[in-house]
Amino acid sequence: MKFESQGVARPYFIFALLLFVGQILFGLIMGLQYIVGDFLFPYIPFNVARMVHTNLLIVWLLFGFMGASYYLVPEECDTELHSPWLARATFWVFAAAGVLTILGYLLVPYAELAKLTHNELLPTMGREFLEQPTITKIGIVIVCLAFIYNIGMTVLKGRKTVINMVLITGLVGLAVFFLFSFYNPDNLVLDKFFWWWVVHLWVEGVWELILGAILAFVLIKVTGVDREVIEKWLYVIIALALISGLIGMGHHYFWIGPGPYWLWLGSIFSALEPVPFFMMVLFAFRVVGQRRHQHGNRAATLWALGTAVMAFLGAGVWGFIHTLAPVNYYTHGSQITAAHGHLAFFGAYAMIVLCIISYAMPIMRGRPQGNGELSQKLEIFAFWTMCVSMIGITLALTVAGAWQVALQRLPEVGALSFMNTQAKLIPIFWVREAFGVVFALGLVAYLASFFVGSRVEAEAGHRVPAVS
């Protein structure tokens, strides 16, 4: 570790992984509820499990992004973090707010939670992904401000690399677009229109900047390739992301009220959104191909390549299959959407966080060239288990979605009802759940890799000659 203050990233990473475990647990619960409808009812109704699953996802990714920033910004800036103390304080505030909110979902009926937190004063609850009580949302804003202030001051006093600037632009964008979560008018169409300014402009806008910056940082570190080359790629990728993604938001404006020109704009621009994801694949493989040294942390290199590939599959390929308006007319809000949501979120954002953790954690634990042999082997095994099972989940949901469309949406007469269609899909939901269990085992293996063979091997030091 170049600077001591980079160490504040550690609790962020650890906590992120704990929340990830919770997320998967609730995913498995829901997967079973898809099959055995009354599983755990009335203790954990589906909607509660879903809030916990998706909110934990978002929050652990945010913890991951924060940890990543605290780790890489000082190193890029070549200076200590502005205020390690503030970073530690915001960690505890954010962690406490997160845990309380999740407990609120689980322990009180949602309507009760809305009343307790005085949702009527500034109603923001009860919308997908934005279920948090208003007070929690305010807390998130405060935490983000403190975080951005801390990172911003560090950048101001230090070296202003391209990676730093792209990262901070992404973080500021994340905070700014989150403010739209406070806009919730009585008019459902306006509500939905601007809801996407949080959701779409996050995952297909500013988060891509964060993703690009973290990926570029890890690639520089593990390959030693010249910064100039990497920065040029980074600029091209994020330029294409914004050019396609901003107007690409139109792919959500097809069927919720806005006028017909969005059918064209949304289809055309979002059809270009896979391009930057494809560039990311070229970028990662090219850079690794041109590497100047073999870094001892092979697992981190694998995560970097894997992130690019899986993000391209999830966002690029699975995004494209349902993004053209004539297709989306039939697939909108079906299991196809869920298939894409899973592979995209996992491949792009979960994996980039796991990637930076894979690179940074060993360093913070005093192993600059990565974990020992055994530990890396296990981590690589976990990588493949999680990636393959997530593709399994995605394929199962894609089959379920296609079948759903065929039974429920396509027929003009004699279409099956929603509930009858779902009953027919149960065998496929079993397949999804089975892959979910494999995914969970992969996650267990991943966590175990932190504890395996570490000390002995690290001390014996039998690994690739150190280069930094």
């Binding site: 309507a111 040029k232 330029a239 929603f418």
Partner: protein, 148 residues
């Protein structure tokens, strides 16, 4: 090797492109906001509709259902539930909704469960008003059929 495509050019595409398309998005948004009143029939958002939206949100209905295709995929689409069960009559739909909310959760073993929300009669009427209003938004004719 002479660089045909330099980092400076890439940076300019990023800043220029990002800025231009952000402006374009803002322009299109303004245009859409101007056109929306004709499509969302906002003149029909009564107090009951507005209260109904709050009931919808405060009970997290979106956690199981989709509404105009957005939300969860565990339970039926409700943006067109009025078309499905109302038979074109607001009154009939109101009665259906009162009975439906009362009936939950249904006892069928193994079937997906909708919780009992303990709503008042007025709250259910508000929900009905909200769902009726929603079903009449001009949404480019989605969904393809009444099953949602």
């Amino acid at each position: 090797m002479p660089e045909l495509f330099t980092k400076g050019m890439a940076r300019n595409i990023y800043y220029g492109g990002g800025f231009f398309f952000l402006l374009l998005l803002l322009g299109l948004t303004l245009d859409t906001l101007r056109a929306l009143p004709q499509r969302d029939h906002r003149e029909n958002i009564t107090e009951s509709v507005a209260r109904g939206k709050a009931v919808w949100e405060e009970n997290n209905c979106i956690g199981c259902h989709s509404l105009m295709g957005e939300g969860a995929y565990f339970a039926p689409e409700l943006g067109n539930v009025f078309d499905r069960y109302g038979n074109g009559s607001e009154e009939a739909f109101g009665q259906f909704m009162q009975a439906w909310m009362q009936m939950q959760p249904m006892p069928t073993e193994g079937r997906r469960k909708m919780p009992q929300f303990h709503l008042s009669q007025e709250q259910v009427d508000d929900l009905s008003a909200f769902l009726i209003w929603t079903s009449r938004i001009n949404d480019n004719d989605w969904p393809p059929n009444r099953e949602g």
